[in-house]
Symmetry: C2
Subunit: 501 residues, 2 copies
């Protein structure tokens, strides 16, 4: 006779297997972007596809279904209930996808990433188009196979923001777009902020690196349980709870770029380092959604990192670390430099006001693609139109336009909106934290980040994926997803900076 | 009806899967020794165990057996015949090992590596003993389960040196031991070689690194299809034919250490870079045996790298790269410094004469362990006795003794003898090359390594694993495994260096 214990011990072993595969994949991805020679690319894409197929086989294995059914029939404590829920969610999705489809999708994405790179180098969308066609066809098929009850895009969105639906998201983002446009119009009409002398100077790479390492430590990132490396596009990957890695990129002409890359990724890394150790190797050692994950990176990068108190603390550090180029630098200059608003073509360089407009453009195009209202060949034109309409700019070429992000070539459709959700969540969480800690800004001004980190640990990180994303927000902040706190935060900041009415 | 093409295309897909797993494992191992934070160790050990279990499941899958049977019934060209042979060999071994055993072994080895590290730090063999017991028990069981026709050790040896048997190896190594001891006695009786002033100086790390990178390029290692990093114990790993990585270690007090680490690993890396591209993702993109692989690293490190012409070329380079500490350095001084013979306790620091005596000690102990003539508790004593008998030295503690090598904690029994086989093969191959290229030494003196590399590519590398190890040697050199050419090489070198009779 099998007992609950037998069932659970077998499920535990299987959860460990999934954790191992996920951590191995994290290493494959980390290495691809940090140390792998370019000539390893094709093999790496196939290795990752093979790992994905192996994971799929483990998920659809009938024995896993039996174990989940059996476990579901037993009285379980809350964490185990949620483990079963999360495993079942992944399995239910996987059984709808035939193995040949999984391989087709993985290979299409592998080819997509290579085509994207080549097409960017050549500046020619036509070289990317067939691969992107293939990916989008596969994503449409995937959504149809998964077949959630709403519209097609829901099945893609649900992978990154479980439970979120277009019916809810689209009107919310329409409101946000209107209000962001209004704020942007007010800022554009105001006199532009001055440039400080330091913005024309070169900041040596080695000292910038030292500063980013110091920042990681200051913010509370445990460097004995992780590391920082360099990559063209910064990211965070988890190989184990004791091995969480962030990357940054350093540009001698733009010292703020490395600083904010590091602070952003530190936000992700601190989240991952904050999961309950007893949840390690279970589906609970994860954020409930990408939006929640992004709430942490954006909270640290923007609300903490682009605040005036942050620079009150770090302006003297800058003067000390860069005596040759920053001896005269002030907190106010740094605060202005990191908050200047300027409609531009490139998402990853955008300020806090225009950033989400970039996202909304991508959301609109993705939705049209999944509603069969837009075809790949029409994408560059539609991209240009959307930028002109939203930000008053049209890219001169597709490298500055539709080919700027790698996401679609990875098959990540339904991913972009989580960046905006992250901003909305971050404002909600920050407000809740400030209610509990009226001295929040003073702590930041004193370089004491353990207060905000402690609060996030307690209210957000430890819980892992026990709640769905919005349930966590509701539990912690008392209110559900809402764009108002984020808009209030932006208005408060920019009203003062730009002397708005 | 399935055709040969169907069979072969399915087999090809499965071979790709094995290649992917092997390359992924290579990355896990590479990262473990280069960049992984220590606190990732336990998770990494389990990830590697999980990958090993997945590989085992893929090997024992009955469908693979069917495909191999079907392919074996068809007329195949030579490469395909050998692919079937190699896959069948791996599968035949795997089906003898139950999955629970594979996991037990993998976990024992994972624990072993951790226990070894801790015990070394504490300098206490007792902390290592239980884990080593467990590993040795598992290796005995493994050998019994595999059950080759000879004695137990054969089943372990065969994994690293396919086809080699104790009945052949033991008498060969006994002869070698006697002749090495004779040479060593002659050298020890001769006046010791002088130390040069540079041997007391510090060689800056950064320039040493530059020198090792230059060496890699000089020897012909393609740095666009690989890279070099640092690790405590240098090694080579293959993530793809276009992504082959070596490591080195640099010690400011011992400039020769980094140089020879790099040259040794370059030998492995050049071999891997030299496989026929059409063999990629098949079992043919491999050396026939570890002994053959080691023949290449040792040929470059010792026969090429510790030769007088090598230093004729590199002494001026040293003077140029290290103007502060090596302005007065001569080729003769470098040649002497890298060839000084000195019985010592540590294998990896040994000279060419004593090196194989260290190996023979390990072989003798492994054999006794597998013949149930020695138990783990008796190992430290047996180790000390063997060192005293062979090299006239007894280690003061187990860190300098039985715990100096990581191999046993990885479960690598039957591995050490391949180092010695590598030396024997290297001398055979070098002689054959010199017959084809009488200007061999001149080329090295001119820093022109493309001749020896070209010859090895043509005769050794390209063939991959088409032949068994000794078959390749016989095909290329006209004679089988033999210790005489190696001893002649040593006598020729040391007779002159030490003015022996």
């Amino acid at each position: 006779m099998t007992t609950v214990d037998d069932t659970w011990s077998e499920l535990t072993a299987r959860m460990r297997g999934f954790a191992d595969l996920s951590n191995v994949n994290a290493l494959l991805g980390w290495d691809q972007e940090t140390y792998m020679p370019l000539r390893g690319s094709d093999a790496r894409a196939r290795q990752m596809a093979t790992m994905r197929v192996i994971r799929h086989e483990m998920l659809v294995n009938p024995r896993l279904g039996e174990l989940l059914d059996r476990a579901g029939d037993e009285p379980l404590d809350r964490p185990r209930q949620e483990m079963v829920r999360l495993l079942r969610r992944d399995r239910d999705r996987a059984v709808k996808l035939p193995p040949e489809f999984v391989r087709r999708l993985a290979l299409a994405e592998g080819r997509g990433a290579v085509a994207w790179r080549v097409a960017r180098e050549e500046g020619d969308f036509a070289l990317y188009e067939p691969a992107l066609e293939e990916i989008i066809a596969a994503k449409r098929d995937e959504a149809d196979l998964v077949g959630l009850d709403g519209e097609r895009y829901d099945a893609l969105l649900d992978q990154f923001e479980p439970g979120m639906r277009v019916a809810r998201l689209e009107p919310l983002l329409a409101l946000l777009r209107a209000e962001l446009s209004e704020l942007l119009a007010a800022i554009v009409a105001a006199p532009q902020l001055e440039q400080a002398p330091f913005e024309q100077r070169l900041f040596p790479d080695a000292q910038q690196w030292d500063l980013t390492m110091r920042l990681l430590g200051d913010l509370g990132f445990d460097l004995t349980a992780g590391r920082q490396d360099r990559s063209a596009h910064p990211f965070t990957q988890t190989m184990a709870l004791g091995d969480i890695r962030v990357t940054t990129r350093i540009d001698e002409r733009h010292p703020l770029s490395g600083i904010y890359s590091t602070v952003h990724e530190a936000g992700h890394g601190l989240y991952e380092q904050g999961f309950e150790p007893r949840f390690e190797d279970t589906p609970l050692a994860a954020a409930p959604s990408l939006g929640l994950h992004e709430s942490q990176s954006r909270l640290w990068e923007n609300i903490v990192g682009r605040s005036r108190p942050f620079w009150d603390h770090y302006a003297p550090v800058m003067r000390e670390i860069f005596p040759d180029v920053a001896a005269d630098i002030t907190a106010e200059q740094l605060y202005v430099a990191c908050n200047r608003v300027q409609p531009s073509l490139i998402r990853v360089e955008a300020d806090e006001v225009t950033y989400n407009l970039h996202i909304l453009i991508r959301f609109e195009l993705e939705l049209a693609l999944m509603r069969d209202q837009l075809e790949v060949a029409e994408l560059p034109g539609a991209w240009g139109d959307a930028y002109e309409r939203t930000l008053g700019l049209r890219p001169e070429n597709d490298v500055l336009g539709v080919m700027q992000d790698i996401h679609w070539s990875h098959g990540s459709f339904g991913y972009f909106p989580t960046y905006t959700l992250g901003n909305l969540y971050s404002a909600l969480l920050w407000d809740a934290y400030c209610k509990d800690d009226p001295a929040a800004e003073d702590h930041i001004g004193a370089g004491e980040f353990q207060h905000v980190l402690g609060w996030m640990r307690e209210h957000v990180h430890k819980a892992g994926a026990i709640d769905q994303g919005e349930d966590l927000i509701r539990r912690v902040t008392g209110s559900g997803l809402d764009h108002a706190p984020f808009m209030q935060y932006l208005w408060a900041k920019y009203r003062t900076l730009y002397n708005l009415a």
